[in-house]
Structures are given as structure tokens and as C-alpha cells.
């Protein structure tokens, strides 16, 4: 199975039924994920920035409940699309 790759139009999303609040994702990626007072992830809805793509992918693959995934950023009518993140050739 191929995993959708994070790009300028992808964000993180959690399946709230599968999520059991391990909290690993928030440890790996505090820039985009915090834990609520019950230990469940609150996820920044912004597209995953290019510089965080590797960590984001690790958070997805390492989730013990397989509850975290990439999902397309929904486009809303009348709202400007977020500026595409700048592609920097990776080292």
C-alpha cells in the first residue's frame, strides 16, 4: 500500500474512533499536534509545511493505533488557497 505523501495540499487528520490517546504523535510533532486535557491529539488544520514533512510521516507511520493519516486540505469556496509551500531540494 502506498501512503499519500505530504505536499502543500495535505494536512494531518485523526480517526477519532481508532485513536486511543497514546500521545506519540504529539511528542514527535509538537509543532502541529498538541494533546487535550484527556490526552487526545488536537491537530493543526493547516497544510503540513514542507520542513515538517518527515516528522509528519513518522508520526503517521508510528501511530500505535494507526489512527493518524494524511488527508487532502478541503478547499472552501470563496477562500484563497494557502500559498504552496516552497519546494526546497532536500539535502
Amino acid at each position: 500500500m502506498t501512503m499519500p505523501k505530504p505536499n502543500g495540499n495535505t494536512r494531518l487528520a485523526v480517526n477519532p474512533i481508532a485513536c486511543s490517546g497514546h500521545g506519540l504523535c504529539a511528542e514527535l510533532l509538537p509543532e502541529l499536534i498538541s494533546l487535550d486535557e484527556w490526552g487526545y491529539p488536537v491537530i493543526d488544520a493547516q497544510p503540513v509545511p514542507w520542513r515538517l514533512r518527515r516528522l509528519a510521516r513518522r508520526a503517521v507511520t508510528d501511530c500505535p493505533a494507526l489512527a493518524l493519516r494524511f488527508s487532502p486540505v478541503p478547499e472552501r469556496a470563496g477562500q484563497a488557497r494557502p500559498a504552496p509551500s516552497r519546494r526546497v531540494p532536500s539535502a
Binding site: 480517526n15 477519532p16 474512533i17 481508532a18 485513536c19 486511543s20 490517546g21 487535550d36 486535557e37 484527556w38 490526552g39 487526545y40 488536537v42
Partner: protein, 442 residues
Amino acid sequence: MNPATVSTALPPQNRAGGAGLPRLLPPAGENGDLASHLGRRGPVPYRGRAQALIGDLRLAGLAGRGGAAFPAYRKLEAVAAAPAGRAIVVGNGAEGEPASHKDEALLLLAPHLVLDGLQLAAEAVGATRAVLYVRRPVRARARLDVQVSERDARGLDRVAVELVSAPDRFLAGQESALASLVSGGAAVPRFAPPRVFERGVDGRPTLVQNVETLAHLALIARYGPAWFRAVGTPDEPGSMLCTLRQADGSVTVTEAAIGISLQALLRTDSIAGGSGGPSPLAILVGGYHGTWLPAGQASGLTLSNAALRPVGALAGAGVLATLPADRCGLVETARVVRYLALESAGQCGPCLNGLPSIAAAMAELAAPRPSPRVLDDLSRWTGLVEGRGACHHPDGTVRLVRSSLRVFAAEIRHHQWGCCSAASFAPFLPVPAGPSSDEDWS
């Protein structure tokens, strides 16, 4: 619990196909048996091929009457696209909302219109299975068995109808919970996608329509889209069944044209806990996932999402309740929110943890001298659960809680001073007796 009575105050004219109301419910004095149904409506108007009805539903602008008001034709179109012989249709009469009785009234008074609609929907999407999903304790349930076999004996139905009992849970009618129960599982929601119209009952594309939507569909198949649009508003055509709970405790199910003034519907000026009594303070619009509105504001609005959306409300499944002047809106809301917290399927962390916290805070707010912290807690917790469930249960609960904080702000200050303006603490909004258990989801 108050059994709903059906309003007979409406004009009793209404020949078949007439434009007047009621359309769905039979005229007073006529019961919904098969002979009178056939006499008045004629046989099921099959189209002879799949998809034929979908264009009519689109022109009619029929929206789902289960609460979400999703365009009916779009669901039919999606399910009709499934490979031949795969699709299933389900008539949803779960009516898990304790304050709603309209589906029960419809199944009691016009069951054959619903069953006609189920057959026509099955034909339109090419379904090979038809299920009628009905709340277990409903009076109509036992009679439906007989009515279905009567139709069988007459050869009216082309697809055999299975009756499936819905558990008496708030979320039993949620589409994915329904699909799970009819597939043999527990009636708990699942995370989408896939959507139920893609993979529903037994993994097959499943059309779920509220029973009232099916009844409207059966009338549109007979009288056409133009007839349907003769009542209602251009954007929200047709009529809808409403369950009205007056301040005196009486409950009626009535069929109202969409766009009618709420004042006319609720008689807000005449129902004041006895003639000459104080005016009611607030109206609950849209049921337990709905919105409290100040009575004065509500009486200037109409029964339509176009009018209600700007004030943060929706017509939902047509549940409207007038809070009696002698009750405390915070006490009523706290009791309902406790019930909603217990009705969480308990699958999603934010709902499982957040709703009981919110319910406890509401209970504190409903009592004298709540902690000064409680409003901050509520503001934080409502923000934390909103949009974080697999279904809309947390969102609907938050909508109700926030509206109560707005509309009963003056009463909150009373409580902070140690007073409550209620003269009676007898429960007004119905909540099923006994605490809900974790069991009995099937």
C-alpha cells in the same frame, strides 16, 4: 412520557393531489389502512425503470426530513450508480430523539405512504433489499408487520420489506450506526469515509432515507414536482412534520408548510402557562442537538433553515418546544446534556471525556452558586469537543450548550447570586427514564 397526539386543527380538505395541508397525514376520521390508502392514493406508481424518479426529486427540491436536510436526489443518484443488484434501501424510522414523535405518528397514520416510498426508492436506485428500521417501543411497530404482509398478499411490493428494530438510543438513527446494526453489529457510528451510500449495510451501497422523506417521495412520484413546490419556499419547498411541545405540556405532531411563521406554529402569544400568565422565555428549535432562542426572537422567525441559520439554529427534524415561564432553562438544559453525555457511543476520546465534563459543568451551573470557574471550563471544553467526533453528537451537544449560555445569561447571574427563577422543577423536556447503560446498542 407524553404520547404525541396528532393535531386535527388543520384544514381537513385535501383531496388526493390537492395543494392543501396536511399532505402526508390522512384527513381526520380516516385511518391509514390499506383499503383507504389505495382508495385515496391509488397503487404504487412504479416508473418501470431505475433512475426515472431521480430527476423529479431534483426538480421538486426534496430535502431529507431526518434533520440534516440533505438533497434527497443526490443520495439516490450516488446509490443508483452502484453495480446492478448491489444496492439496499433503508427507511429510517429510528427517531432516537426523545422529544420527536413525528416519525411515530407518520408510521401510525400513513404507513402505506412510507412503504410506497420505500418501494419507489428501491426501484429508482435498483435496490434488491428493502429494510424498514423502526424504534422498538413504538406503537406502530406491531401493526407494521401486518401491514407489510397485507401488501405482500396483494402483490404491491416488488422488493420484500424486512422490518428491523432500532434500539432506543439517541444515535440509533445516525446513518453509519444504522448500517452497522442492520449488518448485525451494534448501532454505533463509524468514521467516514467510506460513506454509507458507498459502503453501508453488509458493505453494499445503501440508501438511507428518513421515513418522512420516503412519504414525500411517494407523493412526488404521484403528483409531480410542481405540485410539491406549491407549498414551502422556493429554496426549501414542501411541508414538514413538526413535533410541538407547548408550555402547558401538550405535545402535537403537525404538518406545516416550510416558511410558516413560528409564532403561528407555536401560538407563542397564547400559550403562557395559563391565560394571562407570564410569557414564555425561550423556544428550543431543532431538538436536543438544536438551539435555544429567546421567545421574542423566535416569534419573528419562520420555519426554514434560511431564516434560522443566521441566528445559529436549524429546523432539524422539526422539534419545537416552548419552555414554560415557571421553569429554569439551565435546569432543563443540564438534564438534557446529562442524557446526551450518557448517549455518547463512547468511541471517540473527546466525546467520551468531554461530554461528561460538560454535563457536570452544566449541572453545577443549574444549581445555586456555581463555581466562578464553570463558565471558563464550559467555554474550553465545548471548544475541545467540537468537530472532533466521528459523528456530529459532540457538535450538536455543543450547539445546545452554547445557546443555553446565551439565552439564559440572566438566569446564570441569578444562580451566581444563589437564586433560581424557577417555580417548578418538574422535568419538562422528556428524557428517557432511568440512566442509559453502556449496553443495549443492538
